[in-house]
């Protein structure tokens, strides 16, 4: 039995399906409307695959104006809308309901303007994360936030979830790298927020839109900051005999005044799986592995690696290895970035995303092990150690409904532990449907009511991605 409820579809909407589709057909080119069931099925879930609902229809507009027309129409008809990028959300953020129209931005994937003088790029929201970097890499620039899913995921999804990645320790997450958006509100109004300049004055609507999980409108364009690429970058590997040692080493590095570009952590089960997949040369005889990357010129890199090695010496490291070539660096990162995929070949898993104060690393790892033991489930930890953003993967067998429920309960307990230790439910994946019902654990009624008031102010009928973020009980009626 699944734990997370997706509300039953509204029969009045289902009954009007033909009329709604006819209305959409009048607004869009035929290639932008999907109505056949087998084609709609491709949009029934995202990366939280245990939950699926085939949507009423799927629209793939080509322009902001089409998005505006579609939303105006659906708002009049009282039909729910779920915006969708690439469908890689791990929180179920893009999962529709049977009475909802999925609005995909995949056809809006043009690069609109590259400006290296002002270090900005303007793109349509369906451009992939890696597509942004690809558009500027020949000019020596890159787009900094780098979710592991960057080959597939879109800027639209990144903005909705305020996505992060391994290199955000130095460069910040999506919200720190977006300068402007074009967003269409549910009533069809097109709003341009921010621009290529840094300060906009007025309320920081941009900051509010980023991370709003598709509940305020459909983002169709974005102006992003691009950065000059570092002269060079080099990862190093460091093994430890205990999580405590690894955690203490991370704290000591940061306290020393060095902010590496990335500090990633993997535990023993993860190391084994990722090594088998990527042949990156990860040490197999350690309990914990850190991948630490530094940037700069050759001399700067050597200097930083020297400093880090010296700090680490106090924490009994083993298997210290510094990448010697581009190919080796690529293999090291391939192992890390394909960790989720590689784990997925072994077992089904749910990927948690809590964040904790970095001083609590070893406490949280001990707690996670105890919780998973209690449920008789295996767990593997892969995460962004530098900023305390954990990704415990709770392994289970999806063909066993009882085990799936157990895994979800186990995940809930882990997230509650993160909150208890001074952290939060989600550091970069978003709330979606997955953590919706845990929101009351982190926030009280006053907090949640104020958030929902803003939702109601911008989307009075709660048509935009309504089943997400807030518990189903306690919503305004």
């Amino acid at each position: 039995m699944s734990v997370i409820e997706i509300p039953k579809p509204d029969p009045r909407i289902l009954a009007r399906r033909d009329a709604i589709i006819a209305g959409l057909a009048a607004l869009l080119p035929p290639t932008s409307l999907i109505t056949e069931e087998d084609e709609r099925r491709a949009y029934e879930t995202d990366a939280l695959t245990a939950y699926r609902r085939v949507p009423l229809a799927v629209v793939l507009p080509e322009t902001t104006e089409q998005v505006s027309k579609v939303l105006t129409f659906l708002n009049q008809e009282g039909v729910k809308v779920v915006a969708r990028g690439a469908g890689t959300s791990l929180a179920g953020g893009a999962i529709p309901s049977e009475d909802a129209v999925v609005l995909g931005v995949s056809k809006m994937n043009r690069i609109l303007d590259v400006d290296t003088v002002n270090r900005t790029i303007r793109v349509e929201a369906g451009v992939t994360n890696l597509g942004v970097t690809a558009a500027v890499s020949h000019l020596g620039f890159f787009y900094a936030p780098d979710p592991s899913s960057q080959l597939a995921c879109t800027i639209a999804g990144n903005i909705a979830m305020n996505s992060g990645g391994a290199h955000c320790l130095k460069y910040g997450v999506t919200t720190n790298n977006v300068l402007g958006v074009k967003i269409v509100l549910i009533d069809g109004t097109i709003v341009e927020i921010g621009g290529a300049h840094l300060d906009s004055g007025g309320l920081d609507l941009l900051g509010l839109v980023v991370g709003s999980e598709g509940q305020f409108g459909v983002v169709t364009e974005a102006t992003l900051r691009i950065l000059p690429m570092a002269e060079g970058a080099r990862p190093m590997l460091m093994g430890f005999q205990s999580a405590e040692d690894a955690g203490a080493c991370v704290a000591a590095i940061i306290a020393s005044g060095i902010i590496p570009v990335a500090i990633e952590y993997m535990d023993k089960p993860a190391i084994k799986v990722c090594e088998a997949f990527a042949h990156a040369g990860y040490p197999l005889d350690v309990e914990a592995l850190l991948i630490i990357e530094v940037e700069g010129s050759e001399a700067e890199i050597e200097d930083l690696i020297g400093r880090i090695t010296k700090i680490a010496a106090d924490y009994n490291p083993s298997g210290l290895r510094i990448s010697q070539s581009e190919a080796e660096s690529a293999a090291i990162w391939k192992g890390r970035k394909s960790a989720f995929g590689a784990m997925g070949r072994l077992a089904d898993y749910i990927c948690m995303d809590g964040t904790i104060p970095t001083g609590q690393l070893s406490a949280v790892l001990t707690g996670i092990a105890r919780i998973c033991d209690g449920y008789g489930l295996r767990v593997s930890n892969i995460f962004h150690a530098g900023d305390g953003n954990l990704h415990p993967l709770v392994l289970f067998n999806a063909n066993d409904p009882a085990e799936q429920e157990k895994a979800e309960r186990c995940g809930e307990d882990i997230l509650k532990l993160c909150v208890d230790l001074g952290g939060c439910l989600t550091g970069e994946h978003g709330v979606g449907i997955e953590k919706r019902d845990l929101m009351t654990y982190q926030f009280n009624t006053i907090d949640l009511d104020q958030q929902m008031r803003v939702k109601s102010a911008l989307d009075p009928q709660w048509l935009l991605n309504p089943h997400k973020v807030f518990p189903l009980a306690g919503r305004p009626v």
């Binding site: 270090r119 964040t355 104020q450």
Partner: protein
Amino acid sequence: MPMTSILLPDTEAEIEAIVHEAAQSRSGLAIHGGGTRAIGGHVHVDRTLSLQQMSGITLYEPSELVISARAGTPMAEIEATLAVNRQRLPFEPIDYRRLLGGHGTPTIGGVTASNSSGPRRIQAGAARDSLIGIRATTGRGETIKSGGRVMKNVTGYDFVKLMAGSWGTLGILTEVTYKLLPEVETETTLLFSGLSAERAVAAMTEALATPFEITGAAHLPAVDGAPSRTLLRLEGFAASVAYRIGRLEAVLRPFGAFEEIGLEASRVLWKAIRDVEALEAPRDAVIWRISVRPSDGPAIGAKLEASLGARLLYDWAGGLIWASVPADGDGGAAIVRGAVAAAGGHALLVRGSSALRAAVPVFQPEAAPVAAMARRIRETFDPAGILNPGRM
């Protein structure tokens, strides 16, 4: 003008009670941190709520690079505490006392509510980018929280960003949490003399397109026969700074030779730029703060010089123009606003008489859809419109 009474609550509960009462009676409250940022539209109310008593650092974990403080905590206290552990707030907030001639004590809450930043904004972001948690009492008299004390947090809507730069009009900040950076080992400033604004912006944008992590890029036009100065700041480990200077020398050769300014003098220089000391006098001049694309900076600057006799300071590689304009007529509003609107950007009237601030909008007028969206959001936080009414 009636005497204003000052309310000095010590706790969130007291703030809630004051706001409740004010909302019931629909009587506005002016919100003061340390009273140094008297920017924005004139707030016509007869009661001021000061956060002076809501002071003190509530959490500081140097090894986690995080600090929390009650909103009325003086910036000086925060900076002194961080200095002990060789840490700092990344965004280098301006101290407005020079420019505004204020005597108050800048507070962390005021810095947050105004989303302040300084020259390092180009590399480290503004206050909003380092702010990770807030507590605030809304115009409903309810205290909400958003974010927390962890470095990454996407749980619920990002009211942390929304509160930064809301100038006390959505809620009264009671506590804020920031992430920190280690203090750098050293800094050096490269000084180019005699460049035109256009050449200066070309040099600065060229430097920012290198991987050498410039943390300050400012241009001070020529005054009184002294040549213009164009400044680029490098910070980090000494060896790295030295190396980067060498590399920049090659890249920036077309702009002529530069002088190197060492640690101490460089610190003094950037503090002066941060606080816009060059435009402090004459005191009766109107001050505008204009944010545009760097490449649009010189043309807009030239226009303000030609049409208004403006004196300028360019920061953020040309993307931030501080303009001092004679206090005649509309204080240059029509020309400033027109130039900014044409290029895309934002002009804030930072200094001007009450009469001027009543006559021209202090913030760049927003496009109708943006203004409508902001209004809908604002109504949910402060339905009675009692928090700093008229400020934004």
